[in-house]
Every structure is written in structure tokens, then in C-alpha cells.
């Protein structure tokens, strides 16, 4: 029984290299400069409300880094906004980021806690009153008035352990932090020549 438990514990694999993450944590606590990252995106307006955004390089660990390939994302607005709907709405892309970030966190925390995951499904819903962006009512904010995320998780764990995974994932999530706390956003412009 003891042996089986130990074996099971060692074979838990959610595909997250926790040892590497812990190693990075240790190394970066000694080299805080290398921990300073810059995430980048470049976008080109295509037509109407459509834009194409490319993700390629970023800065971290003291140098320039690249993804294995460039990723392209199209954003647009749906037809009910009289748009062509060539891509997800930008606010939906925010949900993409939140879902990806929290799910990655769930997997990493589960790995660290020796919990085998079988499936992790997140359903997200953000409320928004578009009177804000349309300038109808100054009292209404432009952005979300709230975000709901529900996780359905199949794992070798109790409901409390699953709740703790999701809570810890939020605690360590960058996108959760970005959405829940104010961030200084500095936008500039220049004339293209």
C-alpha cells in the first residue's frame, strides 16, 4: 500500500516541469535583474475594426528571446456591431488571456501538489454595459463590470483540494492581477514616414 502510494505520487504528470520552475525561482531570487521581462506585441490595422497582432520576441533572463514561431491573432467586432467579424473581439481576447493564465496555474500547482489532472475546463463570462463605450452614460465604465470564471476539474483530489488549486492559481496569476489591480498604461503616437 505504502509503495503503491509512493509510486502513484511519483508518476503524477500534468506536463508541467515543476522542477525547472522551482529551479528558476531559486536562480532568479539570486539574480533579480534576469527576472525582469518585457512582453511585446505588434499590431497592424487591417480594415474596419479588424487588426492583426503579431507576437514574436520578448525580453527576459537578461536577453532577447523568441517564441518557436510567430503567432498571429485577428481581432474584429461581430456583425451586430456592423463589423465583418474576422476575429474575436478584443475584450474576448482578454478572456483568452485569463483562461490561459489560470489554467496554466492550475496545472502547475497540481503538479507541485502531486495531484493528477484528467481534465480542466474553464468557462468564462464577462459582463459589460456598452453604454460606456458608446458614450451614452458617463456613469458606466467602458470595461467589464465583472468577470465570472468557473472551473470544472476532473482530478485525483477532494473538492477542497480542487478549490485550493484554483485559489492558489489566482494568487499567482499575472492576468488575474492585471485585471484586478490598476496598471499604468502609457500610450504615445508618432506620424509614420
Amino acid at each position: 500500500m505504502q509503495t503503491q502510494t509512493t509510486t502513484a505520487a511519483n508518476t503524477v504528470s500534468n506536463g508541467v516541469n515543476v522542477q525547472a520552475l522551482l529551479g528558476a525561482r531559486e536562480a532568479l531570487s539570486q539574480a533579480p535583474e534576469a527576472a525582469r521581462f518585457k512582453w511585446r506585441a505588434t499590431s497592424e490595422w487591417v480594415h474596419g475594426t479588424q487588426s492583426r497582432t503579431t507576437i514574436d520576441g520578448f525580453h527576459g533572463l537578461g536577453g532577447e528571446q523568441r517564441h518557436r514561431q510567430a503567432f498571429e491573432f485577428h481581432t474584429d467586432h461581430p456583425e451586430i456591431f456592423a463589423s465583418e467579424d474576422k476575429g474575436a473581439t478584443p475584450v474576448e481576447m482578454v478572456l483568452v488571456g485569463l483562461a490561459g493564465c489560470l489554467s496554466a496555474g492550475v496545472a502547475a500547482v497540481a503538479q507541485h501538489r502531486n495531484i493528477q489532472l484528467r481534465s480542466v475546463k474553464a468557462t468564462l463570462e464577462a459582463g459589460m454595459d456598452i453604454q460606456g463605450i458608446l458614450g451614452i452614460d458617463d456613469k458606466v465604465r467602458n470595461g467589464f463590470d465583472g468577470v465570472k470564471v468557473h472551473f470544472e476539474i476532473d482530478a485525483d483530489a477532494t473538492p477542497e483540494q480542487i478549490a485550493a488549486l484554483v485559489a492558489q492559481s489566482q494568487k499567482r496569476s499575472a492576468v488575474f492581477d492585471i485585471m484586478t489591480n490598476p496598471t499604468d498604461v502609457h500610450v504615445t503616437a508618432s506620424k509614420r514616414t
Partner: protein, 446 residues
């Protein structure tokens, strides 16, 4: 010529006194330097209504337990000061009062302790000036607040009457933040409480003080080596507890019922508005989960120990319910004119600004291993959070740490003195002061 002593103990609080007794038992020549009177912080730097978070029967120092009529009660600050003064007399601690240490520097061998009343030279040093001396205030937020708002730290706070009439924003959800929020709310000033990560505990669990469970189950004796993430546990805020005659639980649910507005962590100040984090729901969920794991751990311990019948017995107290969070938590608040005072209950840290030794990390934290300060031979600290054990910052936790670190200092003194010390039996000739009863943590549990 400056007076020379083997060990200078800086601080005449419970830690300095526990160390003084341990040094005396080893006949090690020492002096305890105290800026004010024994237990100064308890006399001058606490709010009027403060009571210990631990019951009286736990308020023990080596050789001295609580002998008063109310072992289940909680001492006020004045009673703690009196308890310490009594202890200092009983152990004949060599305390030099009214003497402030201005600078400690290294000599070719040993240390120079420069005070406002002369200097001392010593071969070893004990940093016992307190773990909770200097308020930690988030500078950027403090600077961003409108100038018309009075800012106050929990260290400067005494009583509600010192505050302007009008709203108060209490920042921080430790024991301090919750206690002050409640007291100020009861004074008729509307209170908003900004809540980040916190530690929730019921005062009583199954009819016993939660601190009894912490101690009896061995949690308070847990050593720092047994903990996964030492840095994290050392940063934990004090649990949301209060010591009252009714032994009542103080939590966010009670405060909200009483009318305190609970909001998320203070995350920014913009255009005269305080902005609160949208993480309130999650920090409450985290605290609820951790509290229930703690209580589950108590139950499992009681089962293992065969205490189930007597302790678990009838479920005398139900588990506290989940923390209630408003359907739409307030995310921003116009500061003026409603809010007149911002009260920072954002924690206290040690003040080692007078320590001119290369013993700090890049954040100004003391580099130490279980209280043995790194990079300065013969220097030890006492009383820091989870320094050697979970109880290291508790009054009753000082004894075991002082006992072990006194042994470390004795070795250091022997080593640095070489054979000289063994050649002169001065130590053996000194009178032995104080009771010799061994202090064990087991004795507390009974």
C-alpha cells in the same frame, strides 16, 4: 576605557530577558541595554485596548508562568509590561535602562556598542530589540493620498478619540487591522477595511482556545527546517484574533454584520479615489480554505492521539461559515470629503538601522539562520517571526530559542577566547542566579 562585557543584549523585552536568564545560567557575563524601562514597547507603543492574542496560561518565560486568577484570559499591554518587570527582578537581570543604542560596529575582535550613555565593548551580541518596531507603510500609496487626509500607523494609534470625526479607511486585515476597524466603527466613525491576504482563525474551536490547539498539536513547536517555504511563513500576517472576556471570534463576517465596509486590498490612488483590488473574493477563499485545513489538522491530531472522545466529543462549536463577500465588492471610493483618516495596519518590522554590520539582504532584512546572524560571528537575534520555530515570536517561544542560542554564544565565546577561558575558572566562581527548573514546551500543554 569603555566597559567590557562578554555579551551585550540589546532590548529588555521578553526575548532579552529570556536570554539574560539563559546566559546567567551559563555564568556568562552580560548586560541588557534597554532604551526605556523593561517592556518599553508594551508601555508606549501599543493602543489602549490591546490584549495579547494568546491566553494567560501561555504567557510564560523560563522559570515563570502565569499565577494570576484568570488563566484563560488575555493580558493587556500594561499587564504584559508588569509581568516582564516582575520577571526581570526575579531573575536579577542586569538591565541598564534609559539607554538607547545608537550604533553597533565591528572591532578587530568583537563589537562596539555605542549608546547615548557611553559605549560598551563586547565579544558577542544579542539582537532582542523587537520584531515589531517599525511600521511598514506602502510609500507610493501613502504619497498618493490627498494631503487633507490624516495618515496614522497602528503604532501611533491609541484610541478612537484621537481621530477626526468622519470616515476611516483601515488598511490591512491582520489581528491589528480587524481590531482597530471594530473599535473605530464602535466609536461612530464609518469604517472601510481594505483586505488583502490574511489568516483567519476562530477564537475557540470545540470549546478550547485555538492557541491551545496550536500548541498541543505541536504546530507552535514546528521548526523552520520542517517548513517548505521559510520566507513565506515568516511573512504571514498575525491571525485574525482578539483577546476578549467573551472569548469571541473576530472575523470579516462579524465586522460586516456590524456595519464595517469590507473592500479589497488598497491597490492604488487615482484622481482622489482609492482603488481596491478585485481579488477580495479570492483572498477570502484562500483564508477560508487554510482555516479549514488547520481545523482538519487539529481533528486528525486529536484522533491520532486518542483524544477523540474527550476533545472532539460533542461538536461544541460549529466551523465558522465561509466569508461573505458582497455581490459587487466596492472597487473604488472617493476619499474626500468622506474619509478623514487612513490608518495603516500594514505590519511592523524590526528596526536594525543602528546595526552597522554587513548582515542585511537587499531588502534590508536581517540575514540569519535560525537567529544566528550570517556574516557577524557571535551575533544572534531573538523573537523574529518563525525564526527557529513557529512560536519564536510568541512570548512563551523565547525560552527554547534563547536556551539554544545561549549555547551557540557559549561556544563562540569559548572558541574566540581559546584556552584563556578554560585557564581562568571565573565562570564557575560566579554566583548562580535564578531557578534552575528546566523549561520545556511540554510543561505548557498541561
Amino acid at each position: 576605557m569603555n566597559p567590557v562585557v562578554d555579551v551585550v543584549v540589546i532590548g529588555g523585552g521578553h526575548c532579552g530577558l529570556a536570554m539574560s536568564r539563559a546566559l546567567t545560567q551559563r555564568s556568562i557575563d552580560h548586560v541588557v541595554i534597554e532604551r526605556g524601562e523593561v517592556g518599553q514597547a508594551w508601555r508606549a507603543e501599543r493602543w489602549d485596548s490591546l490584549r495579547l492574542l494568546t491566553p494567560n496560561w501561555m504567557t510564560q518565560l523560563p522559570g515563570q508562568g502565569y499565577t494570576g486568577p484568570d488563566p484563560g484570559g488575555y493580558m493587556g499591554a500594561g499587564e504584559v509590561a508588569a509581568f516582564l518587570a516582575d520577571y526581570a527582578r526575579r531573575i536579577s537581570a542586569p538591565v541598564v535602562t534609559g539607554t538607547t543604542v545608537l550604533r553597533v560596529s565591528a572591532l578587530a575582535s568583537g563589537y562596539l556598542v555605542h549608546t547615548d550613555r557611553g559605549d560598551w565593548r563586547c565579544r558577542a551580541l544579542v539582537l532582542a530589540s523587537g520584531a515589531y518596531r517599525k511600521p511598514v507603510v506602502p510609500a507610493l500609496l501613502a504619497q498618493a493620498l490627498p494631503p487633507g487626509i490624516t495618515q496614522l500607523t497602528s503604532q501611533a494609534y491609541k484610541r478612537p478619540g484621537q481621530l477626526d470625526d468622519g470616515g476611516v479607511l483601515v488598511v490591512g486585515a491582520s489581528a491589528t487591522g480587524l481590531q482597530l476597524a471594530q473599535e473605530i466603527h464602535h466609536s461612530g466613525r464609518p469604517v472601510t477595511l481594505a483586505v488583502g491576504e490574511h489568516v483567519r482563525m476562530p477564537r475557540l474551536y470545540r470549546g478550547r482556545d485555538v492557541q491551545w490547539w496550536m500548541l498541543a498539536s505541536g504546530l507552535l513547536d514546528q521548526r523552520i527546517e520542517q517548513v517548505d517555504d521559510a520566507a513565506r511563513v515568516r511573512r504571514l500576517p498575525s491571525p485574525q484574533l482578539v483577546g476578549t472576556r467573551e472569548r469571541s471570534t473576530l472575523d470579516l463576517n462579524l465586522l460586516q454584520q456590524q456595519g464595517v465596509q469590507v473592500v479589497g486590498r488598497l491597490a492604488g490612488v487615482r484622481d482622489g479615489r482609492a482603488l481596491f483590488s478585485g481579488s477580495l473574493r479570492n483572498v477570502c477563499a484562500l483564508a477560508d480554505l487554510k482555516m479549514n485545513r488547520l481545523l482538519d489538522g487539529f481533528d486528525a491530531w486529536a484522533q491520532r492521539e486518542g483524544l477523540a472522545a474527550s476533545v472532539l466529543g460533542p461538536n461544541r462549536l460549529e466551523r465558522p461559515g465561509a466569508t461573505v463577500v458582497a455581490a459587487s465588492p466596492v472597487l473604488s471610493l472617493a476619499l474626500e470629503p468622506q474619509i478623514r483618516t487612513v490608518l495603516w495596519a500594514t505590519g511592523l518590522r524590526p528596526d536594525h538601522s543602528w546595526l552597522a554590520l554587513p548582515v542585511f539582504d537587499r531588502h534590508g532584512g536581517l540575514l540569519h539562520e535560525g537567529g544566528v546572524v550570517q556574516g557577524a560571528p557571535g551575533v544572534v537575534a531573538l523573537g523574529l517571526p518563525f525564526m527557529r520555530r513557529r512560536k519564536s515570536s510568541f512570548i512563551h517561544g523565547a525560552g527554547d530559542d534563547a536556551h539554544e542560542l545561549a549555547a551557540h554564544l557559549a561556544e563562540h565565546l569559548d572558541r574566540s577566547a581559546g584556552l584563556r577561558r578554560h585557564a581562568t575558572p571565573a565562570a564557575a566562581a560566579r554566583p548562580f542566579i535564578g531557578p534552575s527548573t528546566a523549561f520545556t514546551s511540554e510543561s505548557l500543554a498541561s
